[in-house]
Amino acid sequence: MTLRSCGVRWLAGLLVVGWALTVPGGSFIAPPAAHGQAKEFKVGVAISLSGIFSRDAALLKEVYDLWADTVNRAGGLKIKGTGYPVRITYYDDESSPQKNAQLVERLATSDKVDLMLGAFGSSVVFAASAVAEKYKYPYISGAASANPIFERGFKYVFATLNKTFDEVEAAARVFSLAQPKPTKAAVIGADHLFGKLSAEGFKKFLGEMGIEVVHFEIFPVDLTDYNSIMLKVKRQSPDLVFVGGLFANSLRAMKAAKEVDFTPKGFAFSYGPTVPDFVKEFGKDAEGVIAASEWLPSFPFKDPVFGSAQTFADAIQQKYGHAADYVQAAGAAGLVAQQTAVETLGLVPPLGEKEREAVMEQLHRQDIQTLYGRVKFGADGGIVQKPPIAVQNQGGKFVMVYPAEVGGAKASKLIYPLTPWRSR
């Protein structure tokens, strides 16, 4: 039969081509790396340049590019007095964990990069970190904070953000300052790892504060109509509304609150308002919203790479035309931590497995100051002793409202209750 054997020949042909493409040495897929006399650090990232995470990942990529520019302008990483520039290779994981794991494996074994940077999105980081662990690449994510990632006993996975559950603490506790004292709250969360964990965090801390949670709901990610949920919330007329979710969820929840014309006295989000688009899109309606955060440009933190928190924020503003988000600062801190470790150890590229192991140990050991504040990793790779803060949009800018003081920066006064949307 014609079709039958033709398929086989195709297969045979493909095999030959596939072999030619993949065998090390004579290959397309794995271009032979010029070992030995490398004068630069090859840094690899598999990140979502397309697909559902592409918006959030773009923020991270901005920081990576800014870091490469900044470092290279300063002559590269300083190792024993010599400068080694960095070159970043990006791959697109199409927001798929499967694809990301594949690309991380490529970076590790075929491109043989010296260092790796983290991706965005918990499920992606889960898959990627398992491969990174296998090949002994320190994997610092500035954006993944879901608790379970750090419960796997990995040695090479680090995060500069607080773990999700704790991260929302300040955004709940800030309402202990509110007058008159709020008594009822509603908590809703998107059904993904981050949204759910942060909603549960809100609930727990509110319970500790003696504020009754009159409505708690986890809603599916694919939901297009948030009005029904917000109406249910409105019917309970809580003083406070908390939203656990990523940027898109927060945006829609805010929009729904406006549409059903419900202005709670306090409105807090686990993530979203600090993403530049949020304030840009909502304008004066975003006034007074509270977001969980860990950093502000006004914090008095410094490091040798980016300078102060403020200069970092200015650099982002200048290069990309928007305010810096705290997740970007967390990403930057990860870069600084890794760079410091390499420089401290005086490692010259290319880095082998042993050198990367040393970097991992150094990361666990070192305790440094960055533009983002102190970076010290715990045994599980999570950051320790990072006080979460609550920020509020006051006059188009986010200012800290809780706790009273971080590293010398003082909190501003909380605006409470909010002015109803209709009177703005």
Binding site: W10, L14, L15, T22, L49, Q98, R106, S123, R152
Partner: protein
Amino acid sequence: MTRWIALLALGVLLLLPIGVGPYPIRVATVIFMWAALAGSWNLLAGYAGAVDLGPVVYHGIGAFVTAALMLKLGLPFLVSAGLAGVVAMVIAYAVGTPTLRLRGAYFAIGTLALAESAKQLALAWDRLTRIPLTGGSAGVSLPLSAGYVLFYYVMLVLMAAVTAAALWLRGSKFGYGLRAIAENDRLAEASGVNIHCLKRRVYVASACVIAVTGGTAGYWLSYINAADVFSASITFQMVVMTLLGGLGTPFGPVVGAAFLTLISEFLGTRFVYHYLIAIGVIIVAISLFAPGGLTSIFALVRRRTEATA
């Protein structure tokens, strides 16, 4: 002849891990995985003519059942994956019996709705039943596996099994029954073919392969969550790869999986920002100029050569 080339190819693939590094092996494993998934879909859509838009249901079931058996009962991976295949077969039998009575577009949309329901059910499972299985949106983390060669062989076996099944269908009684159903189901019925029974057998068999593949992929990645393992994009990829390679041909899914994986690997690492656009154009071009899929190009070339010879 066919058999010999196929066996030779299989032999080469069996020995491949000896001479090649981990990355090409991973790419090959990815290709086998998609070939096994697309091949399973091809059995139903290409041979029995039932366009299933919800095969991912069994991928998800396989992933979670494998994970649960490994974590809760401490069973070894291969046993867990095998049992997951059995569980998927039982579920497929129960689900397939009513669903396969839908015809044409209804079957397609019905299975699509089924897959979405399954995803939502998996997300809500732990809260609804209080039996921890899927971890809700938090997903389930699996222990890190020892090596990558295991996955290579498991996926290779799955792909080989599906391809062998497709080859067997071409000349067997069962295969003729299926092709009759695909061509004209009412006539097949009137000719004595028990169409529901035959279709269900294929449905159940492909569910088994898909589930084992899903279980293997989950362990390979070491982390699964319902939104990913029940994602409609997995179904889409299966469909696209099969159509690209050649629907209803035994090697079509393999060729499609290899082509799409390699082209995206090749272009994706060179033109990071624009490769998806290029792949879109390539897919359109192939479907216009080789509507029978990539395998049909070869058939055409072959026929031309024969005509001139």
